[in-house]
Amino acid sequence: MVEEEGFQRYLAHVILWIGIAIVAFPVYLALVASTQDNAVIANGQMSLLPGGHFLETYYQTLFVGTSGSTREPVLNMMLNSLIMALLIAIGKIAISIISAYAIVYFRFPFRMGIFWIIFITLMLPVEVRIYPTYKIVADLHLLDSYAGLSLPLIASATATLLFRQFFMTVPDELLEASRIDGAGPFRFFWDTLLPLSRTNMAALFVILFILGWNQYLWPLLITTRDDMQTIQVGIRKMITTTDALTEWPVVMATALLAMLPPVFVVVVMQKLFVRGLVETEK
């Protein structure tokens, strides 16, 4: 091992703590602001230490919402975000794992063609097809619905590739063995392949849940009703263009509530998160 001199080591600690401070400062500020009085903040007199309005602000945020722009309880927005995130994450995993199963364990005409059709969607992010997709969703009467929020995002080339890759490494003997036991394609998938894929599915779920929860452009376009708003869209509507009306403590509380679930997932399921990230992105 290359030994580090004492000073080098000390320097490393200092730099890392500076990095952590830079990363954490905006969030600390939000936390502090969410406990202070709006009038004080609006005057530019905000203190860097927590104030005494914590319970009041969070109660208002969760159950009432802002008094001006959108009177929608943030708890409801969080519920919408949760439903959308779960539909996207579970939907992507479900349709990807069965596509990969078909592509790896069956031989059929257009097999590779279908694989490529799925693969190429990597190059069609929602940003490049927003308005035509909007039109289709509108024609299908899916605006302001959970199906509209999730369905157009549910295809996943990366998840399909990942499962395909994983199935390729599953020894052929397993299939032969379960065939001898009289298992058909459904039994083999359910009893053998799914249990083996558990870790991959979990890692993927962590990443896709964060991805789903953090969707912004798409929900912004297709939700018009306040009660269908996701939290990411809701927070934007809270910042009014006339600054004087923005209720900063509520906005900051909403910001913290919006990051709570995905950050919690990253911190608590760090191993799965890192694994999922590295495997899906490369």
């Binding site: 290359v2 596509s99 039109k135 912004l220 990411q232 950050v263």
Partner: protein
């Protein structure tokens, strides 16, 4: 890591025989992909070659006229340049800071797992939330940091000053991406065999020299991979940051290509031009994805 799917010759030998089942299995994904991905993309491509008259009564096929018009429009050209400037500024600032942190965290320090945890969580913060946090921190009248800037005699007002608004977007976007870059750099550093670094140390190379002559070159595939990912991020994922912070303004100082497609579409108006903008974005994604995959393949043989 995966290479291009075609390059894999590996195939299963043990398979199931069924004529219909495999189609039923791919059907859900295929349906979604065709309805919500290919159909709209195709619509955009077709639309981009058509021109509607002022009343929307008739459309005619105009070849590349929409594209030519677009490139003649100074605002579009400016948006292209701006998007590239943003991308490189975001990528370079975020990458260099993340690399510094990763090199430090790679040292055998006490509490290195804690450091990692404390540095990776911003990955999970959504772009619009990042925008809200930064706009609050650097708001001209009530931002905590703005007080300090004014104290230093800087006339800080990103609501009016376009360059300052652009800087704000770049900083906020780079901030969010630090954690992602940090994780991949750390993984890259940890995959460099310690023996290589030891050998350099035995040869008497000081830490700085060791870094630039040994570690940095070995890290170049990771750097290149991250550069592409960061550019894609800056192109597409900054939408939420821009929308909550500046909404493209002041003027058009923070209007990127994606943001322009969005606002032009909201205003309605020229369908053909809007479609042409989408198709150009598609082309950019295709190029970036192709670069990424070419590189990934090379990295496998590295």
């Amino acid at each position: 890591m995966r290479g291009l799917p075609v390059s894999e010759i590996m195939q299963k030998h043990a398979i199931f025989q069924s004529k219909l089942l495999p189609y039923a299995l791919v059907a859900p994904q295929l349906a979604i992909v065709l309805i919500f991905f290919y159909w709209p993309a195709l619509q955009a491509v077709i639309q981009s070659f058509l021109l509607q008259d002022a009343f929307g009564l008739s459309t005619s096929f105009v070849w590349f006229e929409n594209y030519l018009e677009l490139f003649k429009e100074p605002a579009y050209f400016a948006a292209i340049v701006r998007t590239f400037v943003f991308s490189f500024a975001i990528a370079l600032s975020s990458l260099s800071f993340a690399l510094l942190l990763a090199v430090m965290a790679d040292k055998p320090l006490r509490g290195s797992m804690l450091y990692r945890t404390l540095l990776i969580w911003p990955y999970a913060v959504a772009p619009p939330v990042v925008g809200v946090l930064w706009v609050f921190m650097l708001h001209p009248s009530l931002g905590v940091l703005s007080r300090g800037l004014r104290g230093m005699g800087i006339d800080w007002n990103p609501l009016l000053n376009g360059d300052q608004a652009a800087l704000l977007i770049i900083l906020a976007a780079a901030w969010k991406q630090i954690s992602y870059n940090f994780l991949f750099f750390l993984a890259g550093l940890q995959s460099i065999p310690k023996s290589v670094i030891e050998a350099a140390a035995i040869d008497g190379a000081r830490p700085m020299r060791r870094f630039w002559t040994v570690i940095f070159p070995l890290l170049s595939p990771t750097i290149f991979f991250l550069l592409v990912v960061n550019i894609v991020y800056a192109f597409f994922d900054t939408f939420g940051i821009i929308d909550t912070m500046t909404r493209g303004g002041p003027g058009k100082a923070t209007e990127t290509l994606v943001y322009k497609v969005y606002t032009d579409g909201l205003l309605g108006g020229n369908l053909g031009s809007s479609a042409a903008q989408s198709v150009i974005l598609m082309a950019i994604v295709i190029i970036l994805t192709a670069i990424q995959f070419r590189f990934v393949e090379r990295k496998v043989t590295y």
